[in-house]
């Protein structure tokens, strides 16, 4: 079974967020593998362990993406494809999906996995659009994948603690939700073995897709409210009333 895992290199979760001079994005910082993609990779590796085959990792972005690709090879992927692209930020979700779809198509995989969404833009669309462009059936928010005679049976997360089983034919595309599996840590053995694994580079120009965006990110700002603790004063009864109101209206968790 050939599985392609599309991953993204994103700013580190704990990195400080500073808006750049142009006001359009954040300044260069430290980068890491997008965590939901780590879960997608884990799912792929487990499927390969059970059914054999190949796990190919794919990512678009500038040169620094190579480091993250090597990490995925160290975690166990068989080979990697780097879509060299320096203007990823200027493309919208459709544009990026076109790029990835063009790179995936010649691989003709049985299964394409992506993380549910990225930690920077958080659109959660790339995988869905890639499925559309490649004409693959798809499902999102997947926690568990099982291979069947005819395709795949997957466990999908629904709102409010509900789940659903979906059956799909092969080939298919799935976007993987975090937390479905236990992630594996990078090992010394993995890193040593990764040195000999292939990382193939293909430029965005070679893929020749339509890059003109229909949606533009005009500017970025810092949110007005910073997180601070609201202490609710008064008697027990007063505080309780205030709390329930806040939870209902402000935090909307009730």
């Amino acid at each position: 079974m050939k599985i392609v895992v599309a991953i993204k290199q994103v700013p580190e979760r704990d990195a400080q967020v500073r808006i750049d001079a142009a006001g359009k994005w954040i300044e260069e910082t430290e980068y890491a593998l997008n965590e939901p993609d780590a879960y997608a990779l884990e799912e792929a590796l487990q499927l390969r362990e059970q059914h054999g085959g190949e796990v190919v990792v794919l990512s678009a972005g500038p040169e620094r993406v190579g480091t993250t690709l090597r990490e995925t090879l160290a975690k166990g992927a068989d080979r990697a494809i780097h879509v060299a692209c320096d203007d990823l930020g200027a493309r919208d979700a459709l544009g990026v999906a076109r790029l990835l779809a063009a790179a995936i198509k010649p691989e003709a995989p049985d299964l394409v996995l992506t993380g549910l969404q990225s930690e920077d833009l958080g659109l959660g669309q790339t995988g869905v659009i890639v499925a559309e462009l490649l004409g693959l059936p798809h499902a999102t928010l997947i926690l568990h994948v099982e291979k069947t005679e005819t395709g795949f049976t997957v466990k999908r997360e629904l709102e409010e603690g509900w789940f659903q089983t979906i059956e799909l034919p092969t080939p298919a595309l799935l976007t993987i939700q975090s937390g479905g599996n236990k992630l594996r840590y990078a090992t010394l053995m993995g890193i040593k073995r990764a040195k000999t694994k292939e990382v193939r580079s293909v430029t965005s120009a070679e893929l020749a897709v339509n890059a003109a965006p229909v949606v533009l990110l005009e500017w970025v700002t810092l949110p007005r409210k910073q997180k601070s603790t609201q202490m609710l004063p008064g008697t027990a009864k007063e505080a309780a009333v205030a709390l329930v109101e806040k939870l209902n209206v402000e935090a909307r968790v009730l």
Partner: protein, 667 residues
């Protein structure tokens, strides 16, 4: 002649006797070599130890003399049985010439004439040892077979019984030879008894744990050179101790040297609290592996003879290695086994993975955003290190993120300000990698060490002071593999240098009328709500101010056994009250249970190590427990919480000092 008896020797041996003896001797030697040669072969066929240096040889010789010839470790830990064993050993040494002579006489080459003055003197010398040895071996026999101490194991060792009997026969037959005449048949019988005992003993040596007679002097001499030393990995295919092919000569030698005395297990915190881990069994497991599979096998080490579960119960406290009288180095072996599991990804532990992932992605072992550390620094206006200050104050993960760890840091900061020390904290810190290192994740450790070394170089850090013995150890010893770390010391070492400048709570010539002069004067002891809440001069002068508070000091493993720092923290504690010792103290201190990365892993099975220790500390009757490590502090805090409200107070030594500082000082 009765007053000064001589050793009786048969004057004449028949040809038959000579041939018989020769045949028996050859058989005995062959039986000996068939096993010993095999063991030697396995040891020599093991791969070489990377980074092993024979020189400087002075230290090796000194340790050899102290531990082997003087039997220091054997005696120190278990004095009476230890002394008994020492006598047996010394008797063996004394008997060397006697035995040689004994075998030579049958062929007419005897060189120690029992009637000559030298011979006689030597015979008496040996006889004295024989008496002492007989008594000792008898006592040891009674201990093993009748008293049956727990640490020798539940199975009775018949081979020990046989060996004891042989030694007894050897000694008594020698002594009896003084009481018979030279030419008498008794002399011949005694000579043959002695010989048979000898020839039976010889092949038994390599077939039993008495192999240590031959190996342990070498084992002690060929130690790695320092305590708990983790060897570097050699080359791209070395991932630690995975299979037989990874066993090195030192490891094999040590595995075969084990005398099964059980001192390691006796002091192991895991073994003492019902865990699977038993250090003696780990070593014997390796021996079993070598016996069955040998050093060229690809069979996993963690399988038939040892379990992964046991290995990951090790807190790396080092009590085992510290105690071992034959020079076995348990820690490189245990960590080698963890390395083998972690570096190859065969260790699948939920909490372990989470720890590694937190360190992979972030900067600290707790998985907390570094903005929390920034906020802590900002809120307390800690100066940033800019290369001009004398010390870099290393916060560490606990000091930066744990509420109690932060209190310790702030207490130290108060003291440093009081002393006028110039210091700064780094803008960014990454975990030193202690937990990753002890759990065997070399990839992660290398990344952390290299990143930190670079930060040190960039910031021009020359001296570090830290509240955490784990950080200190990792910086000083483990980072060495990837670069040159700055000088580092623990805050107890730092504070101890200024003991004379720091105020004492208890003045020996105390009188309540003495006017307070700020530091060094009378400071009434009141239980503060927070360490920083200093003492008001107009406080109560009654209650317990007249009797100094009892403070029991707990030696952290990584400060005590690992770094040999015992007196400096005690000097600090003595400033604040009456120092009380726990029964298991100094080198015998009992671990708090956090080390080896275990504090980040799931719950322990069996009794909690920290609870075991806390009960011991409470039983001293002290009002305060003094800690010198933020991990000990956190483990004890949990354990004390389970004890109830009457629990003693728990403070770090920095907090003890800060408490005595005059209020309104520099802060």
């Amino acid at each position: 002649m009765i007053l000064f008896p001589t050793l009786a020797e048969p004057q004449y041996f028949s040809l038959f006797e000579k041939l018989l003896f020769a045949a028996l001797a050859l058989t005995s030697a062959a039986a000996f070599w068939s096993r010993f040669g095999l063991v030697l072969d396995k040891i020599l066929k093991s791969k070489q130890d990377p980074g092993f240096r024979l020189f400087p040889i002075g230290k090796r010789i000194r340790e050899f003399v102290w531990e082997v010839l003087c039997q220091a470790k054997v005696i120190r830990e278990r004095p009476l049985p230890g002394l008994a064993h020492a006598f047996v050993f010394w008797a063996f040494c004394a008997f060397a010439l006697v035995t040689l002579n004994h075998c030579a006489t049958i062929f007419g080459f005897g060189f120690l004439s029992p009637s000559g003055s030298i011979g006689r003197l030597y015979d008496y010398f040996a006889a004295a040892f024989a008496i002492v040895c007989s008594v000792s071996i008898f006592a040891l026999f009674v201990r093993r077979f009748f008293i049956r101490p727990q640490w020798l194991g539940t199975k009775l060792s018949w081979e020990s019984g046989v060996i004891a009997l042989l030694i007894f026969v050897l000694m008594t037959s020698y002594l009896a030879s003084f009481c018979v005449a030279d030419a008498s048949p008794s002399a011949r019988i005694l000579w043959w008894s002695h010989s048979l005992a000898l020839l039976t003993f010889l092949p038994l040596i390599p077939h039993t744990k008495h192999l240590h007679l031959l190996l342990s002097p070498a084992t002690v001499f060929l130690s790695r050179g320092s305590f708990a030393q983790i060897p570097p990995l050699a080359g791209d295919e070395d991932f630690g101790l995975v299979a037989g092919t990874d066993l090195t000569r030192l490891v094999s030698l040590q595995a075969y040297s084990c005398v099964e005395c059980g001192r390691c297990t006796e002091h192991c915190p895991a073994s003492n609290t019902g865990k699977l881990l038993n250090p003696k069994e780990i070593i014997l497991g390796l021996r079993g592996y070598l016996n069955e599979y040998g050093p060229a096998s690809a069979e996993p080490l963690l399988g038939k003879y040892n379990s992964q579960q046991a290995v990951f119960q090790c807190t790396t406290c080092g009590a085992c290695e510290f105690q071992c009288p034959v020079g076995i180095e348990h820690l490189p072996i245990l960590i080698g086994l963890s390395r083998g599991a972690v570096n190859t990804g065969t260790w699948e532990d939920q909490h372990g993975s989470r720890l590694f992932l937190a360190l992979e992605r972030g900067s600290n072992a707790l998985g907390i955003s570094p903005t929390e550390r920034d906020r802590f620094i900002e809120k307390n206006a800690l100066p940033l290190f800019d290369g001009t200050q004398e010390y870099c104050l290393w916060l560490g993960c606990m000091g930066a993120y744990d509420p109690k760890g932060r209190e310790i840091v702030l207490a130290l900061v108060r003291v440093m300000s009081y002393l006028g020390t110039s210091y700064g904290v780094l803008r960014k810190e990454k975990c030193t990698g202690d937990a990753a290192r002890r759990l065997g994740n070399d990839l992660l450790f290398q990344q952390l060490a290299e990143a930190n070394l670079q930060t040190m170089a960039e910031n021009k850090v020359k001296k570090i002071v830290s509240i955490c013995p784990h950080c200190v150890r990792t910086i000083q010893e483990d980072w060495h593999e990837y670069g040159t770390p700055p000088a580092v010391e623990h805050h107890s070492e730092f504070l101890a240098r200024f003991v004379s400048q720091l105020p004492r709570t208890i003045d020996s010539g105390f009188s309540p009328d003495i006017e307070s002069e700020g530091c060094g004067g009378f400071n009434p002891r009141i239980k503060p709500t927070a360490p920083e809440a200093a003492l008001a001069p107009e406080a109560e002068q009654t209650t317990s101010t007249l009797r100094p508070e009892k403070i029991v000091y707990h030696d952290p493993c990584y400060l005590g056994r690992y770094r040999n720092v015992y007196d400096q923290p005690r000097a600090i504690v003595s400033l604040a009250g009456e120092l009380v010792e726990a029964p298991r103290n100094r080198e015998r201190s009992f671990c708090c249970g956090a080390g080896g990365g275990l504090v980040f892993l799931g719950e322990e099975t069996g009794e909690r190590i920290s609870h075991n220790r806390v009960h011991e500390l409470i039983a001293t009757g002290a009002q305060t427990i003094a800690a010198a490590c933020p991990f000990c502090n956190t483990m004890f805090r949990d354990a004390l919480a389970a004890t109830g409200d009457a629990a003693p107070e728990l403070l770090d030594i920095a907090q003890l000092v800060a408490r005595t500082l005059p209020q309104g000082g520099v802060s």
